[in-house]
């Protein structure tokens, strides 16, 4: 199975978008060695080192008091938004620059999974903290990630965990923890939601310090029966309980398959587990994997970051106006990092294939094509540059009908072959 076609599919799945040089190198190394290199990068990540996360300092609203004026509040809020924008642009830059592409894509996957939006959390500092947690635990056991996330300040604010007390439990976090983050629907009851909410009681968030704190008197210490087990659960032991359920093994596997293999090809029945990297290894080497070629619709962020890698464009090197257009373009396509539309995360697959998102994609493609620092002068060169296996007659005709290299490149970026890979 180690032919070039398969290895290119692998690279398209495991990276945001492989460069021609990466395709060549993987072809030489072979499939198995490429899987190893992607999953266990040995070399230091020079790209990541060159793109250190921004130092955001403290949350600008932390200095506000009840005596602060309306103007001071507005200014603080404005600074908060600016911080969020900086963090988003940094992350896009990192996605393009990182050598450990799979690790970076995995962080984005988990961000979509624990889908938390800065629009409600209103703190880039806390969002940055959550990304660090996803980065730290995202490769390994779900249990480690989930137990860290249930005490993550941004997630607590997002799902009203700080309003959840023994006197009056708030079910929001408990429900989504089971439905969306660990088990999926049908694997718990309403009684489990109520009991789970009690297990999660007691956590508050200090925005100024950027920390979540456990307040014993707000916690319900009574034993709860959740999923048939009775114990004096707290947030961490509740999360650990969920991760032990058989349903978690297929739930996480299915989620990874849909994002790293195909949303159109069902997850293989034997794909199960709770640790991301071993699961991805199983997915990439599964007999069903090669058949996912041409069955994955690139998410907007994946599409844009991949195109920028291939075209030698760095968000940080774009001018202010172009950076603004980049974010506006992602917004119009429906996917801006740190701003998932709901706790259910972003849609997938055919959802991105609408006239609405196509318009936005075409505009952004034009911008990226104009900013490209590499060029391809003919149609075959374009296929190589963009790691496309080949153009259909339809697309070749469309590309031939363009006027000039920039327009041809923009057209290639929105072609069905590039968008659906």
């Amino acid at each position: 199975m180690a032919d070039t076609g398969h290895v290119t599919t692998l690279l398209r799945r495991a990276t945001f978008g492989p460069t021609a040089a990466e395709v060549d190198a993987a072809g030489r190394a072979g499939y198995t060695a490429t899987v190893d290199r992607l999953l266990s990068p040995r070399a230091a990540d020079a790209g990541a080192r060159a793109t250190p996360p921004p130092d955001l300092g403290t949350d600008p609203t932390a200095a506000l008091t009840k005596d602060s004026t309306r103007e001071q509040r507005q200014r603080a809020r404005q600074e908060q938004r600016e911080q969020a924008r900086r963090l988003t642009l940094w992350w896009l830059d990192r996605m393009v620059a990182a050598d450990d592409q799979l690790g970076e894509k995995l962080v984005f996957f988990w961000h979509g999974h624990w889908a938390t939006s800065v629009q409600k959390v209103r703190s880039a500092v806390l969002m940055r903290g959550q990304l660090d947690t996803l980065r730290r635990h995202g490769r390994g056991e779900l249990r480690d990630l989930a137990t860290a996330m249930v005490t993550d300040p941004a997630l607590i604010l997002w799902l009203d965990g700080h309003r959840n007390t023994r006197a009056a439990p708030n079910e929001n976090l408990a429900r989504e923890l089971m439905e969306l983050f660990t088990l999926g629907p049908g694997h718990y009851t309403e009684a489990d939601v109520k009991a789970g909410a009690r297990a999660l009681t007691g956590w508050t968030v200090d925005r100024a310090k950027g920390t979540a704190t456990f307040v014993r008197r707000r916690h319900d210490p009574a034993p709860q029966t959740i999923l048939g087990e009775t114990a004096a659960f707290d947030a961490r032991s509740f999360a650990a309980l969920l991760c032990r359920q058989p349903a978690a093994r297929t739930f996480v596997a299915g989620r990874l398959w849909r994002r790293f293999a195909s949303e159109a090809v069902p997850p293989p029945g034997d794909l199960a587990g709770t640790a991301a990297v071993p699961l991805l290894r199983a997915a990439f080497t599964h007999a069903d994997f090669p058949a996912t070629a041409g069955q994955h619709v690139k998410e907007p962020v994946e599409w844009a970051a991949g195109a920028m890698r291939q075209l030698g464009v760095r968000p940080s090197a774009l001018g202010e106006q172009k950076r603004k257009q980049l974010l506006a373009g992602l917004d119009a396509m429906g996917q801006v990092p740190l701003r998932p539309p709901s706790v259910g995360g972003w849609p997938a697959g055919a959802a991105w294939l609408t006239t609405s998102s196509l318009q936005a994609r075409a505009r952004l493609a034009r911008l990226l094509a104009e900013a490209a620092t590499v060029e391809a002068t003919d149609v075959d060169g374009l296929a190589r540059l963009l790691a496309v296996d080949g153009w259909s007659a339809r697309t070749a005709a469309a590309l031939e009908s363009t006027r000039g290299d920039t327009q041809r490149l923009a057209a290639a970026l929105i072609s069905p072959e590039y968008t659906v890979c």
Binding site: R339, T355, Q359, E417
Partner: protein
């Protein structure tokens, strides 16, 4: 395991919606929605479906202000008799709904109380799926208006969404409605029409999703003309998206979406169903103010739309239906909010709607695990809309379903 199913309301189409889109790829292009002007039966009516994502608190929308149980259950959240906009001696509308209150007084707003379904599901994603697929008993594979579309030739121009992604309710088994953006993004600024047209040519033997990507180009050329006229009305600034919604729904202002609907209706396009939405109703905390702001947006947008529709004959044939995936728990939580509940109200309005109260008011004391017991199956509402607005036998969409609302929706009165 089936995460896609639960999220389908966010998607352009779901698991099977994708298959439906693919089946139609190439065969059902949009051509030009505006060019369909006049291409509809003279007596054809239009349905505008407004989805409120997140679970709107029905008890603080249509308020049983005279019921002591209401005040007991949510003392800090409750509206008093002096605050509500009175409907009768028992019920009043939320103070933010002044415009709708006026329409109610004019006999143009029907309020269907206690709308829900058996064995209520309290998950946003699943309950919205149930409402949108109209299949409470088993996982849905298509939206109810998607099936209506199937039964009417599966032409995507017949069912249009002004949301960023196509809601599952418009995805059928064979075809799907069209998602038309409320933005200024025009592909034509980036690429010439012949290039777009070339991309829109079907390619034999292509993977289904790629065929769908190609079909988008053909659709786009058709939609472009429609959008061009309305884009100024709906300029979206990327920094203006305050108020994140954790549970989905459009972020374009409802008013902008309805403006676009109004333009299409006035142009006499072939479209029979429009889907618009507003998100943010998941008020687990600090509900009173948040809900009031949202209801104010709904009120302003719907009242303006109703007024505009009144002025044309085509507009007077429009019926608007407003629903949410569930109401909220009767008892408040300690965060000055409410958790996920069950049955709630559906609003119907339009020139032909003979207003009033329909369906029995659910008891606030005889509860199902803390939640209201539904009194009207939401499929009664759908069957009524299918039969009296869309002129379709409801059985084609819902299977045998005898229930109907008592409401009259004629336009001749």
């Amino acid at each position: 395991m089936d995460t896609l199913t639960r999220r389908r309301f966010l998607l352009a189409s779901g698991v099977t919606g994708a298959a439906a889109l693919v089946a139609g790829a190439g065969a059902y292009t949009l051509k030009d929605i505006l060019a369909t002007a006049g291409d509809r039966p003279a007596d054809a009516r239009t349905l505008v479906l407004v989805t409120l994502y997140g679970g709107n608190d029905g008890l603080n929308t249509v308020i049983p202000y005279a019921d002591p149980a209401y005040h007991d259950a949510r003392p800090d959240l409750a509206y008093g008799a002096a605050e509500v906009l009175r409907v009768d001696g028992e019920l009043g509308l939320n103070p933010a709904l002044a415009g709708l209150h006026g329409l109610y007084g004019a006999g143009r707003l029907a309020i269907v109380r206690g709308a829900g379904y058996p064995k209520p599901n309290r998950s946003h994603f699943q309950s919205m799926d149930i409402w949108q697929t109209a299949r409470p008993d088993r996982p849905g594979t298509s939206g109810w208006l998607g099936r209506w579309l199937d039964a009417n030739g599966a032409d995507p121009r017949l069912a249009v969404s002004f949301e960023p992604a196509l809601p599952v309710l418009l995805a059928g088994e064979r075809g799907a409605g069209a998602a038309v953006p409320v933005t200024r993004q025009l592909a034509r600024e980036a690429l010439a029409d012949p290039v777009l047209a070339a991309f829109g040519q079907p390619q034999e033997g292509e993977p289904p999703l790629r065929a769908r990507a190609s079909a988008c180009f053909a659709d786009l050329l058709a939609v472009d003309a429609l959008v061009a006229g309305a884009r100024e009305a709906a300029a979206a600034d990327e920094d203006d998206h305050e108020g994140a919604t954790a549970t989905g729904g459009a972020t374009s202002p409802l008013a902008a979406q309805l403006d676009l609907v109004a333009q299409c209706v006035e142009a006499g396009v072939a479209t029979r169903v429009f889907s618009v939405s507003l998100g943010g109703f998941d008020t687990h905390a600090d509900e009173k103010q948040a809900q009031s702001i949202l209801l104010g947006q709904v009120d302003k947008a719907l009242t303006a739309f109703a007024g505009r529709m009144d002025r044309t004959e085509a507009g007077r044939k429009v019926v608007v239906a407003v629903y949410s995936e569930f109401g909220r728990r009767v008892r408040a939580n300690a965060s000055d909010g409410t958790d996920h509940g069950t049955a709630s109200d559906v609003f119907l309005l339009g020139a032909g709607v003979h207003g009033g109260l329909f369906g029995a008011r659910p008891s606030l004391t005889d509860l199902d695990d803390g939640d209201l017991k539904y009194t009207t199956d939401f499929r009664d509402v759908y069957a009524t809309l299918l039969e009296r607005v869309l002129g379709t036998d409801p059985a084609q969409v819902l299977g045998p379903w005898p229930g109907r609302l008592e409401v009259a929706l004629d336009t001749t009165a």
